[in-house]
């Protein structure tokens, strides 16, 4: 292709673009539309979790938008794919704040994307409610627009430790994590707390491995701990626990809320029955959670992923705050919505949520659940082993 052809191509492209001009310029009735954006990985290896966030939000919007629509607003979901990449997340964030109809962001999955992106949201006081970012730094920066409905690593870890030492009364434990912000964070918090309680940690390691856990299991089996903790997500935890069990590891298994998915038993099968996990989402036996699970399954044809419930709750809170600021049909502002969110008292399937001055839930209730069957359809029938409520630590200054 010669430069002449480049030239003509450019010219052609320009003509085409002019012809299409009106298409990309957005809907005309912006003032009466409220958009709720999600940012999460929708492609790549973490897409399953990211999609859960999007779907949870979608379900909540459809369910709770009635009042807003009555007030004359159209409520729309705008899903963004952050590809789990910080640079993509930031550029999306810039795009989001430029769209004045977007009032709130539900996201992200990865703290590594959430932190730089929320710096951008802060520029325009755009509220963000995170369903999944457990890293302390997310809220410890004390931004007025950043909130989360999930627990912090330094809360959930100790919950697990309390259960292991207090209820299970184990003497030795082996801790493995997935080398992600989340998995390592919660595993370290768990380990530190457990050591304080006098339990011996016989091993603490990380791994990015996803399939073959043989070489990790072999020393665990030799050390024969009473408890194995995996800090991470079900798609790694289940094969790990399964391979460990098959290889003859006799320990009890424990993990964080990343395990809370019916896929956990779908992958792990019989081997993972009896596993404990900590979660902020109420047992599905509670009416709300049960209803959520059923509606989700009905709409999307599958069981909710971890964080789908949290996204649902986060969206519900956002909509509640939106109803507050749009009273009398007045157009909402991001700033007003931000402070309204901080004032919401919401009672849902993850317990009652009220934000403190950093955006953490004032008091997080945690459940320790035990897997009772290898039938994924009956995931909701998992047994509640313990219930704990712990307040988020105050901001370290």
């Amino acid at each position: 292709m010669t430069s002449t052809r480049i030239r003509s191509l450019v010219a052609l492209g320009a003509a085409l673009a002019v012809a299409l001009l009106p298409l990309g310029s957005g809907p005309a009735a912006q003032g009466k539309t409220i958009k709720i954006a999600t940012q999460s990985p929708l492609s790549g290896g973490q897409a399953a979790l990211g999609e859960g966030i999007k779907l949870g939000t979608q379900l909540a919007i459809e369910k709770f938008k009635v009042n807003l629509e009555k007030a004359g607003f159209k409520v729309e979901l705008v899903p963004y794919d952050d590809q789990a990449k910080p640079d993509v997340g930031v550029s999306n964030a810039k795009n989001i704040i430029a769209d004045k109809a977007i009032m709130v962001v539900i996201g992200h999955l990865n703290s590594g994307v959430a932190i730089p992106s929320s710096e951008v949201y802060k520029e325009d006081n755009l509220p963000m409610i995170s369903p999944a970012n457990t890293n302390e730094k997310v809220t410890d920066r004390g931004y007025p627009n950043v909130n989360r409905v999930c627990g912090r690593d330094d809360v959930q870890g100790p919950v697990g430790a309390e259960f292991a030492a207090g209820t299970l009364k184990v003497k030795t434990a082996y801790v493995l994590h997935d080398k992600t912000t989340y998995g390592q964070g919660v595993a370290e918090a768990f380990k530190n707390d457990l050591e304080k309680k006098g339990v011996k940690i016989v091993g603490f390691e990380g791994t990015e491995e996803k399939s073959n856990f043989d070489p990790i299991v072999t020393p665990i089996k030799a050390k024969n701990p009473e408890l194995v903790y995996f800090g991470g997500i079900y798609d790694q935890a289940a094969p790990f626990f399964k391979q460990a069990k098959e290889k003859g590891v006799k320990a009890k298994f424990l993990g964080p809320d990343g395990l809370d998915s019916s896929d956990f038993v779908k992958i792990g099968g019989k081997a993972v029955v009896g596993t404990y996990y900590t979660t902020a989402a109420a047992p599905a036996s509670s009416a709300q959670a049960k209803q959520f699970g059923e509606e989700y399954k009905k709409k999307f044809g599958k069981n909710p992923e971890p964080y789908a419930a949290e996204s649902y709750v986060a969206t519900a809170i956002a909509i509640k705050a939106l109803e507050e600021v749009t009273k009398g049909g007045k157009a909402p502002t991001r700033e007003a919505l931000g402070s309204a969110i901080r004032k919401v008292k919401y009672n849902g399937m993850t317990g009652s949520i009220e934000f403190d001055d950093k955006g953490d839930p004032k008091k997080a209730s945690y459940y320790v659940m035990q897997v009772t069957t290898d039938n994924p359809e009956k995931w909701s029938e998992n047994k509640e082993a313990k219930r704990l409520a712990i307040a988020a630590p105050a901001m370290k200054k």
Partner: protein, 323 residues
């Protein structure tokens, strides 16, 4: 440092490493076959591999839902499923070559590489799209063939599962078969002739395009078989599962001397052993200062070291530069 423990688990770690190594070796064959003939890294091989795994899981799930899975003899089921996986992966490999590589055969070497990377991205999401429409699922779980889960206790510190043995036996058989095909048959000689000089081969009456397609078919089929075995062994696959094992297998192929079939085997085993020993021993040897998370660093560092002293890999021929 717990020396006694170290010694006690040694045989098990060795076995773990060998098993992993055979898995890598099987995937590496696809890279090496294609490289041997076209001197080109088929980056999309990880997807060819994972398609085999997906076809396998779909078949097994299909059999299971018809209730045949538990009644049919498992060797037959496994063989059938592997053949199907091989066929699908082989066909995919041939198609990819036809569509995305053949038009680029005369282009500089990096061009097909980028095309292959694009193909890899494309296929990952095509698989995902297909699976999400078909099963509305992201992670798929291999149904267990019960007899394969049986474990044999060889000693008190060493045991092995039936499926691991199947993987090792299958890998050895396929390697032997491939070696025989390439070195002892006319078609194998033709493959080597095309690898060396395409134009001269065509002057012998060899249809070069067909031989190249055949190479992709064989390499792809090996990948497909590896995919099924991978699924049977580890149980869980998703559209992106292929990427990391693919990368490791590629490393193994280079380590052994890319383009060299026994080299792929050796490279796979060396890499498998390195990873297994690093993951099992790192923490024990350093008193917990470093752990299994360093296994890839360890493996890659050894790779770099080996290549520094043997720049063409372990079995790669050191071709004398002719001035």
């Amino acid at each position: 440092m717990d020396f006694e423990l170290l010694v006690r688990i040694f045989p098990q770690v060795l076995l773990d490493g060998l098993l992993l190594g055979f898995m890598y070796a099987l995937i590496a064959l696809g890279y090496t076959m294609v490289y041997g003939v076209l001197e080109f890294i088929n980056f999309a091989h990880s997807e060819i591999f994972i398609v085999g795994a997906f076809v396998g899981v779909e078949l097994l799930l299909g059999l299971k839902s018809r209730g045949v899975l538990d009644t049919a003899p498992w060797p037959l089921v496994l063989l059938g499923v592997m053949l199907a996986g091989m066929l699908a992966s082989g066909a995919l490999a041939v198609t990819i070559e036809r569509v995305a590589y053949r038009p680029l055969r005369a282009a500089p070497r990096l061009i097909p590489l980028i095309s292959a990377i694009g193909m890899s991205f494309f296929l990952q999401d095509v698989i995902r799209l297909t699976e999400s429409l078909w099963r509305n699922a992201f992670n798929l779980v291999y149904p267990t063939l019960e007899p394969l889960n049986e474990r044999f206790e060889l000693t008190s510190t060493l045991d092995v599962s039936a499926k691991s043995l199947v993987v090792i036996v299958a890998a050895l058989l396929m390697l032997w078969g491939l070696h025989a095909l390439v070195n002892r048959t006319k078609i194998g000689t033709a493959i080597r002739a095309v690898a060396e000089d395409q134009a001269a081969a065509s002057l012998m009456g060899i249809d070069v395009n067909r031989i190249i397609s055949l190479t992709f078919l064989i390499g792809g089929a090996m990948g497909g078989a590896a995919g099924v075995l991978f699924g049977v062994q580890y149980g869980l696959i998703n559209p992106y599962t292929g990427f990391i094992p693919g990368l490791k297998a590629f490393t193994a192929a280079v380590l052994g001397g890319i383009g060299n079939i026994p080299g792929a085997m050796l490279g796979g085993i060396v890499l498998g052993l390195l990873e297994a020993f690093a993951a099992s021993y790192m923490s024990l040897l350093t008193g917990g200062a470093f752990g299994a998370e360093y296994k890839d660093i360890f493996a890659f560092s050894v790779l770099i070291l080996i290549l520094i002293f043997r720049p063409k890999g372990l079995l790669g021929e050191v071709v004398r530069e002719r001035a």
